[in-house]
Symmetry: C2
Subunit: 298 residues, 2 copies
């Protein structure tokens, strides 16, 4: 497994692969890897001949400097984890490889980026869109893998890849959860043991609301109930809890088309996000079946 820290090292390797007709799957990450990230690597290995994982804590997508400073950085551990998964290259760019002197370009997506995390984190999705466009172009990936935990981010990236004609297929992969249902997240490491215990209520409350809305109820009462349960369990604030259309993230009052409940809430000064699709209440299928379906629709 090669560690590349410059575009030059990266492009030497990818040029050879492309020449040999090998397709490239990329898994962009900010490090602090957990089994959710590793499931994306496994998905990439099933789809493409070559796999690149990128690790870059992107300052442009942090609207809060405290959050950036406290974002976990575990490079040696990350490299060790990726080495067990048959990754070809870990691309850990020096900041100047991403934002060289005089850098002046922003990629912005309207629509799906508005509301939800876009409302509570101004500038966040511009930062995401810009760095992801760059990483997709630097790695010259044929496929890129993103977790559905950051569902709004996934929809922003799908939109920008389509809109800018990037020669890449974007594949969303299911959320990986702990035994108690808590969605894996790098930010979970900042929670105390007690808070980790409380955090699991987030998924349970969303599932409960999703089941009621899927059964035909209007969204209002189930969402308010879920919010009350979350706050009663020790969360300090809820940024949003909403029923949104799956494709364009427009808010819905009821499940009139494929929909998902998305939520962001604060626990122990840590902002957690999660989401549940209304048609996703059965036990998750094995990732291979899931991935095949996504590929067919991509």
């Amino acid at each position: 497994m090669m560690i590349a820290r410059s575009r030059q090292e990266l492009s030497r390797a990818t040029a050879n692969w492309r020449h040999a007709g090998e397709r490239i799957g990329v898994v962009p990450t900010m490090g602090a890897l957990h089994d959710g990230h590793l499931s994306l690597v496994d998905a990439a290995r099933q789809v493409a001949e070559r796999c690149i994982a990128t690790i870059f804590v992107n300052p442009k997508q942090f609207n809060n400097s405290d959050d950036l400073a406290r974002y976990p950085r575990t490079e040696a551990d990350d490299i060790a984890k990726l080495a067990t998964r048959n990754v070809d290259i870990v691309y850990i760019p020096d900041p100047a490889e991403i934002y060289p002197d005089g850098f002046a370009t922003t990629v912005s997506v309207t629509g799906v980026s508005e509301g939800l995390c876009g409302a509570s984190r101004p500038g966040h999705f511009d930062g995401v869109a810009t760095v992801v466009a760059k990483l997709l172009l630097q790695t010259r990936a044929d496929f890129a893998f993103f977790g559905e935990k950051d569902f709004q981010q996934l929809q922003v990236i799908r939109r920008l890849a389509r809109d800018l004609d990037l020669p890449v297929k974007i594949l969303g992969c299911p959320i990986v959860r702990g035994p108690d249902g808590l969605a894996l997240s790098s930010r979970n490491t900042r929670l105390s043991v007690g808070a980790l215990h409380k955090a699991a209520v987030l998924y349970r409350a969303l599932r409960e609301a999703a089941a009621r809305i899927a059964a035909g109820e209007s969204a209002d009462i189930p969402l308010r109930t879920a919010a009350a349960v979350i706050l009663a369990s020790g969360f300090s604030a809820i940024d949003y809890i909403e029923l949104c259309a799956e494709d364009d993230l427009m808010p819905l009052a009821a499940a009139t088309r494929p929909a998902r409940i998305l939520c962001a809430a604060w626990l122990d000064r840590v902002r957690l996000i999660d989401n549940v699709a209304l048609d996703d209440l059965l036990p998750a299928e094995p990732i291979t079946a899931h991935l095949k379906e996504r590929l067919a629709n991509a």
Copy 2:
């Protein structure tokens, strides 16, 4: 010569070329082709094995709907001209190929896009940056050719290609002028015969100012003199006339580094732009020599 109106037709052809190791030069245009555009096509033919000319009147870069409505459209003539120049594909995308339903992405460049035309045409360079990024990615060009008449546009495109890691070299080519020095422009066709006559003063006034500044004078008086001459010759207004650094377009008070005078002025309700480099006052070299030097520096 093939006429492609969809991305699909285009990508079928370019995939074959890429597979064969042939490099692609693209000349993005808004049609109404003149010898300036054709010089770009000739440059592309010298550098790349394959040449694509694109014709798309991009609504997003018009800040003025009247200007958009009156922009000349001469598709049959354009195709006939390109057929004489050994172009492989003329890509004339249907608008939905560029801006499909739900299109929501903007590419913005700060810095070089501010001031000059950026100040008098709000939104213009976002429109340019977005469509050019798309055209470069749709054509999968290795080289792209732009005229120096739109010098600020050229610098915006250089910046975005570098910043987004687009796998393309951007090549600026010298302004092509009529016998009286008037820079060729599609908008010239909207001038009356009388106005065409007056228009040539623009280049003469810029050259005169450039010669004085190159000889060591501060910019202020030569630029004011040029402005007075331009207005006295029948132009109705000047949007700007400035001495700017060649690379970052920062305004300069004197020729302390490589510099260019840029001007936009109104004649007969038509907005004309032109520019003169201070080190470019000798008769233009043949385009081949010029191009080799640009390629070496690209």
